[in-house]
Symmetry: C2
Subunit: 502 residues, 2 copies
């Protein structure tokens, strides 16, 4: 759209007496920038003929972006160019060939919700200041809980899955020892946390941040597919008790970060119940299977958990960040654990029902509105559409594995449970050399080299990592609903192309 | 702009072979919704002839919004109506008469940065996936530190000031007792935190969350203006030591939430240094005075702190959320304290300088990009423009106090240091009745009643609260740069109008 069309549009506003230069200039800039955003990110950025990323060395990028902040401001045109530069040099996570993280793609309704959220610029603490969002959060949490299998309960939107996991851990600690809130950990026995070796690193971060200490996280063994071995959980509970530590928190994972493994939830629930331990499920990645009739069996037993972390910003494409922690508890534990009753914010003599001022459940004061993007997307495509999104990702992952099995240059690391496909590319020089003494060492260098080449070509982005007992391998994750089997074929072809001289 | 114009605009995209129905329908919706957002929020929402809020009872609002999430999706038109409804029933925090929180107004460049951030949808953990933002965060933090007075140091953007304060507390704890990270609080002596009675409630939330306990927060007395009394800090340190608690963290406040008071930083720094205690300054609200030559003396001594919290989303209008915690430390304490070295994300064999992968400093895994909105706004108006914004707010607050002193119906609670103006409105029935036995009780009901009326009229929003020794009073805060003395006059007139029958 030309600038003149936008100006004309803006002129329509001038009849309002209060419209001032500030507002009309501001809106004009915003509108022109919006055009750049649509063109550079949503249009070019989703076009497979364009690059996923424009790799630039840090020093060069620093100078291209002219990052320095100065005494005086810049012109409209100069600022629009800055918008363009930021868009141009940023990775296009909405590009169909972006597979680097557990988020990807773009949902236009969710994005609309996000722009609306940003423009409304409010904080999710009281009904007074965020009436729509207080009620909307309540509704969305209720619906997510019902998918877990709970007709009642509690929950909160958090800035990411790691923080959601922290909430669960803190609430569990308060449930076990309520005096910890006032007296601290010195007043209670040493605590023990249990999580599998394949679980997310946020468990250790949480243990450190909450003052429990990383050494009080007992690491439970996982099987080859990445699922927790329940027998080892029992052994680790016995071990902790023998060290006079009190087991209070078991973290099971539904969809591990690397392999996409699901822990056996019913078995873990049995053990947790028997030992009187709070069971949390980190379903940040895998929770979305709840939408799918076909795949929800993977989280069978989830309803027996005390708390669940779930990130709709991953597989559902709600956009960063959209993470919830849900609680089965109906005794207002979340509020009791976190409230500080600030009188300047949570006045009790307000003229409306102050139970709607839910902000005191939070460890934050101001809290971003994260429910609208999910709500609007859900309204747009329904539970049915979200289920299709999940089922489609599974189908493509299955296809990818099948195709990989047809090609001798690819070797799977482990059996697939979810949409993560972990594999090695075996380059020509290593084929048939499995028994060479330096095979593993040489194989470990293949993924980083191919990764460097794909970044520099900008054709796609796929992550790699080592894992205990395994040298560097690729992890492909299928998330975006726009993908087709053609994209899966492309990935295999492209890795072969990038690695065929190795 | 008419739908046809937008369609024409979209048609320009059709020559790209890969443009598909999904993208063009999606962009069309987004573009039409953008038009609604501009009209309802930025245009009507900033017009003083329109309401700040459309007060609606919760049950009525629930039904108006039709919040329920269903099996099937909705039409384009229906969804656009939903965007309109969300905008309509939300509080317009960008309205010139919104004074309810420590944020208000709208900066169009910051908002542009936010829309760009949302559309790019990335996470601030590695150079690989967020090259522009890793470098930009570095630059913005460096510039903010230089305003504090530090040529070196560290820092991170956090989801709000409460979390920033938590980072400071956790880092201080690790600095004092590094083994706490692995062994937990059981391995170290009971800790003591010091903060004034006027400080933000996040100190207590942090103490609880970090496992230290709220009773280990020693509350230091403040004077009538709201500033910490240093002699009482010394007394409280002695008291803590006598209870075998180890003082490790003093929180001074630069700009208290209610009164806008500044603690005497140099005096507190002397005491902290003498006792070997980490000094943190919660300058979430007041930090922005650093831009102003005229007012930066209020934070004299800030450079002696070990860490500083500062929220550019408040007085600078960067938009929610934009909060940083800055550190004077140059030993990589932040990273040592929080790192978990996840191999799937922070691979050490990458082809670029992995010191740019700063995400392991964070307690989060995915972390929202919060630097762009501040950077773009800063580029747009320069340090000079930001300074003007601060100075303007001070001028208006001074004007408001002067006008209040001319009107016998208003009584100031305490002397003004910053842009917070705390006052009672004395309605006709209470004038000259200061000595009545029920005067305080009756006065305490005035602010809530007027607040209810202003919300229901929708003419403005101003917060009220009680404070130790004081019954409910209003707190006016001047933030938005669009305000004039006319707006200040309006507030006084409107409160008189709303309360003249009380």
């Amino acid at each position: 759209m030309s600038t003149s069309v936008f100006k004309e549009y803006m002129n329509g506003h001038v009849h309002h007496e209060e419209a001032d230069i500030y507002e009309s200039d501001g809106t004009l800039f915003l509108t022109e920038a919006f055009k750049v955003i649509v063109e550079e990110i949503l249009h070019k950025g989703t076009d497979i003929k364009q690059k996923v990323c424009q790799w630039t060395e840090p020093d060069q990028l620093r100078s291209l972006l002219d990052l320095e902040l100065r005494e005086h401001g810049e012109s409209h045109e100069q600022l629009l160019k800055r918008v363009q530069d930021v868009a141009r040099y940023s990775v296009k996570t909405c590009h169909p060939r972006f597979f680097n993280q557990l988020f990807a793609g773009v949902d236009y309704h969710a994005l609309t919700g996000r722009l609306l959220t940003e423009t409304l610029n409010t904080s999710q603490y009281t009904y007074e200041v965020a009436p729509v969002f207080v009620l909307m959060e309540e509704e969305v949490l209720c619906k997510l809980r019902s998918l877990v299998g709970w007709s009642e309960g509690d929950g909160i939107f958090c800035p990411g899955g790691s923080v959601s996991n922290m909430y669960a851990m803190d609430t569990a600690r308060y449930w076990a020892f309520p005096n910890v809130k006032t007296q601290g950990l010195w007043a209670i026995p040493r605590l023990a946390i249990f999580t599998s070796q394949q679980s997310h690193y946020s468990m250790k971060k949480a243990a450190a941040f909450l003052g429990i200490g990383t050494e009080n996280v007992f690491i439970v063994k996982a099987d080859e597919m990445g699922s927790m071995i329940p027998e080892d959980l029992e052994a680790k509970i016995v071990q902790a008790k023998s060290q006079d530590a009190v087991p209070f928190f078991v973290n099971a994972t539904a969809g591990t970060t690397v392999q996409g493994a699901f822990d056996p939830l019913n078995h873990i629930a049995d053990i947790s119940e028997r030992n009187g331990i709070w069971m949390h499920v980190d379903a940040a990645w895998g929770g979305s299977v709840l939408f799918s009739e076909k795949h929800r069996h993977l989280v069978s037993g989830l309803e027996r958990a005390n708390s669940v972390t779930w990130n709709p910003h991953k597989m559902l494409l709600a956009g960063l960040q959209c993470s919830v922690v849900l609680f089965r508890d109906t005794t207002n534990l979340l509020m009791h654990c976190h409230s500080a009753k600030a009188t300047y914010l949570f006045q009790q003599d307000k003229f409306y029902d102050t139970s709607l001022d839910t902000g005191d459940k939070s460890i934050q004061c101001g809290r971003k509105v994260d429910c609208l993007k999910l709500w609007l997307m859900w309204k747009a495509i329904g539970s049915h559409g979200l289920a299709e999104r999940v089922d489609n990702a599974f189908s493509l992952a299955r296809y990818l594995v099948e195709e990989m099995e047809k090609r001798p240059n690819f070797k799977l690391v482990s059996k697939r449970q979810f949409v993560n496909v972990c594999f090695w590319y075996i380059p020509p020089s290593l084929r048939g050399k499995e028994n060479s003494p330096d095979y593993q060492k040489r194989l470990s260098k293949v993924a980083p080299t191919i990764k460097e080449r794909m970044m520099k070509c900008g054709t796609m982005m796929v992550g790699y990592q080592p894992m205990e007992g395994y040298v560097n391998f690729f992890r492909m994750v299928v998330v975006s609903p726009r993908l087709t089997t053609k994209d899966m074929d492309f990935i295999l072809d492209e890795i072969e192309r990038l690695g065929n001289d190795l």
